[in-house]
């Protein structure tokens, strides 16, 4: 049975890759770094709090599909926008607030 840690592990991995893509916009390097750190911490916080609790049906699929969606992004400007959007999708699927 998939648990919250499984979902967050997939999400943080995708978020890390997204941040690397966003860093290509040099003028926004600081913002990308800050945004990545803050959202990553929020995801880890959820994993720490809920750990091995099983997730509702559909949650892992949601995280996987959203991860695939953002992994298709090549434009670094769009990647920056998704750096904010993606963690919120994950948190919403998990029933958490942003």
């Amino acid at each position: 049975m998939p648990d919250v840690q499984d979902a967050i592990a997939r999400a943080t991995s995708a978020l890390d890759a997204l941040a690397r893509a966003g860093e290509a916009v040099e003028d926004e390097w600081q913002y990308v770094t800050d945004l990545h750190a803050v959202w990553r911490a929020r995801l880890v916080q959820v994993a720490t709090a809920r750990g091995t609790a099983s997730v509702e049906p559909g949650v892992l699929e949601a995280v996987e599909r959203a991860s695939v969606e953002l992994e298709a992004i090549e434009d670094p400007h769009r990647a920056i926008d998704w750096l904010s959007t993606y963690p919120q999708i994950v948190l919403l699927a998990l029933g958490e607030t942003g």
Binding site: Y31, G58, R65, E69, L92
Partner: protein, 238 residues
């Protein structure tokens, strides 16, 4: 303090065409009644890669899954359709449409709190002895005893020093004239991301922030402090 329609340059004329597109009004209408989750869906799909609605339904199980209420699922479908319509217009156009939608949404929500006739778009604010600003405000509320000025942004990345300074200066100029002007940034992005952006800016405590989660405060009941927006955050990092 007085208000004036912004003069129309070539860019404004083009943008006015986008603002007048029924797609914008339709999206704003849907988003005004939407939940925060549905607004997030719109934000994601309007800037996504996939144009397959099924993919988005998988990404948002709380909106489309078996536990979602029928009426809410229906609205989620309508929001998704509208968002994908915008996304399908190409990179440049979708950027213009997203901005116009946030402005139209702001206007619509404000018109639920004050007389619709008091809500205006693309207005300059003039003060005696002060050179007028370059950029008009996206949305204003103009009442006899107080006014509100809003700058609307699609994402937290749109927050910058120039925008904050203009809003803050307007508020301070109004204060010098003894007028009451609430200034705020409306950002169609999460509060957390906005705070990250604001943390590196010079604090402007007089400028309020209305983020994705608190959009309904624009339409909300009586504010606790006259002129202030209930539920809105001050424009500075916490």
């Amino acid at each position: 303090m007085r208000f004036q329609d912004a003069s129309r340059d070539a860019r404004a004329v083009v943008y006015a065409g986008v603002q007048a597109d029924p797609t914008v009004a339709r999206a704003a209408q849907l988003l005004a009644a939407a939940t925060t989750g549905q607004r997030l869906l719109a934000r994601a799909a309007m800037n996504g890669q996939s144009d397959d609605p099924a993919a988005w339904r998988v990404m948002f199980p709380t909106l489309f899954g078996p536990r979602a209420e029928a009426a809410e699922s229906e609205r989620s479908e309508a929001v998704l359709t509208a968002a994908l319509d915008v996304a399908g217009r190409g990179e440049h156009a979708r950027s213009l449409y997203r901005g116009a939608i946030v402005e139209a949404l702001t206007e619509r929500l404000l018109a639920q709190r004050v007389q619709p006739a008091a809500v205006h778009r693309e207005r300059r604010i003039l003060f005696d002895g002060v050179r007028s600003e370059i950029h008009p405000y996206d949305v204003t509320v103009e009442l006899p005893d107080r006014a509100e000025a809003y700058d609307c942004k699609w994402g937290a990345r749109g927050i910058n020093a120039e925008v904050l300074l203009q809003l803050d200066l307007a508020r301070r100029n109004a204060e010098l004239e003894g007028a009451r002007l609430v200034t705020a940034l409306v950002v169609f992005d999460s509060r957390r991301s906005c705070r990250v952006r604001l943390a590196r800016q010079t604090p402007t405590p007089g400028v309020r922030l209305v983020a994705l989660e608190s959009l309904d405060a624009l339409a909300g009941g009586k504010p606790a402090v006259p002129g202030a927006l209930a539920g809105a955050d001050p424009g500075r990092p916490s």
